[in-house]
């Protein structure tokens, strides 16, 4: 959670663009990764990410915490945006066409080709999971969110999240073994 997040949210609700800008800077990578790993296409991910933050900014006055963190609210907007995106048009990309890993992996210490290939395989395998399984895997293991945060974002019980997580990990391992 961003330091001083509550004040930033209050200011952003009051129309302070700079406060929302700080929230944007903090949550952009997280939401972008979530969308990219779900839709598997960089440009679509960028468009959808932009829409998510645009909707968040325009509806900021309607946000009320009610025990849910701001990140959960953004994830919900992102999920709804992805669903709308799939409804409007069939995804243009096959998950196998997905990743130009060189383009996506910007971290300088991931330089070895075999590591990049391994990550490409993982991303493809994630793409084969059910949507809810993808959500849980990304939030729990990529973004390192707690079970509680994931349950808030997905509007599911913590027990349900644990069950989905267990099933998704098992499935992912099987998919990776098959791929190898």
């Amino acid at each position: 959670m961003l330091e001083d997040e509550r004040n930033l949210i209050t200011e952003a609700k009051g129309g302070e663009a700079e406060a929302f800008g700080r929230l944007y800077d903090y949550y952009l990578p997280m939401i972008y990764r979530f969308i990219l790993l779900k839709v598997g296409h960089r440009e679509e991910a960028e468009d959808l990410t932009h829409q998510v933050f645009l909707k968040a900014w325009q509806n900021m006055s309607g946000y009320s915490e009610k025990g849910f963190p701001f990140s959960s609210w953004l994830y919900r907007i992102a999920k709804n945006s992805i669903i709308d995106h799939y409804r409007r048009a069939k995804p243009s990309t096959n998950i196998d066409d997905l990743v130009n890993i060189e383009e996506l992996i910007s971290r300088p210490d991931i330089g070895k080709i075999d590591e990049k290939e391994e990550l490409a395989k993982i991303m493809k395998s994630i793409g084969k999971l059910k949507e809810t399984e993808k959500d849980v895997i990304i939030m729990r293991f990529v973004e390192d969110l707690s079970v509680k945060e994931v349950s808030d974002a997905l509007n599911k019980s913590e027990g349900a999240v644990k069950v989905i997580q267990h099933r998704a990990i098992k499935k992912l391992q099987e998919l990776l073994q098959k791929d190898n």
């Binding site: 129309g15 663009a17 929302f20 800008g21 944007y24 800077d25 952009l28 990578p29 972008y32 990764r33 990219l36 790993l37 960089r42 960028e46 990410t49 932009h50 933050f53 645009l54 900014w57 325009q58 509806n59 900021m60 006055s61 309607g62 009320s64 996506l104 992996i105 910007s106 971290r107 991931i110 590591e115 391994e118 990550l119 993982i122 991303m123 895997i137 293991f141 990529v142 973004e143 390192d144 990990i169 992912l172 391992q173 990776l176």
Partner: protein, 154 residues
């Protein structure tokens, strides 16, 4: 599984393009916000309403239940004051009467004592002479007067 989790964590290095992040930020923040339509019922309205309603109920309850008691107790105090004032007056009058009776009883007893112990010697001779001078000798019944005089002296 640990290996898999470690690899999944490496995906955190995936980040948006810097140019996209900058242009999207500018575009989002420069967009006009949906100003919420003026609502008659604001988000805090129901909380305020509940507090106000509770206050009104409490006030009505107190005015119905507590105020008559207070008024009754005030009127009770006033009537008690009046009763006490009357009672005090009665006591005062009674005390005056007792004092008066006491004085007169004392005077009477002193007079009787003096009369019985000193005899006619306490009578002022000048006073007796004056009484004698004014004595109406033409009284229809001088014997009765003599009897009364003797009674007073002895």
């Amino acid at each position: 599984m640990d290996q898999l989790v470690k690899k999944l964590r490496m995906l955190k290095s995936v980040s948006p393009d810097a140019d996209f992040a900058f242009s999207s930020r500018m575009s989002v923040l420069s967009s006009s916000r949906t100003t919420p339509s003026i609502r008659l019922v604001t988000p805090g309205f129901w909380t305020g309403f509940a507090v106000m309603a509770a206050s009104v109920i409490v006030v009505v309850f107190l005015s119905n239940i507590r105020t008559p008691n207070v008024a009754r107790s005030i009127s009770d105090i006033a009537s008690i004051d009046a009763d006490v004032a009357i009672f005090e007056e009665d006591i005062d009058i009674t005390l005056k009467e007792i004092r008066s009776y006491g004085d007169s009883a004392k005077k009477t007893s002193v007079a009787l004592y003096e009369a019985s112990s000193n005899g006619p010697s306490h009578i002022n001779s000048a006073l007796i002479k004056k009484e004698f001078d004014t004595l109406d000798m033409e009284l229809p019944d001088p014997e009765e007067a003599n009897r009364l005089l003797e009674q007073a002296i002895f």
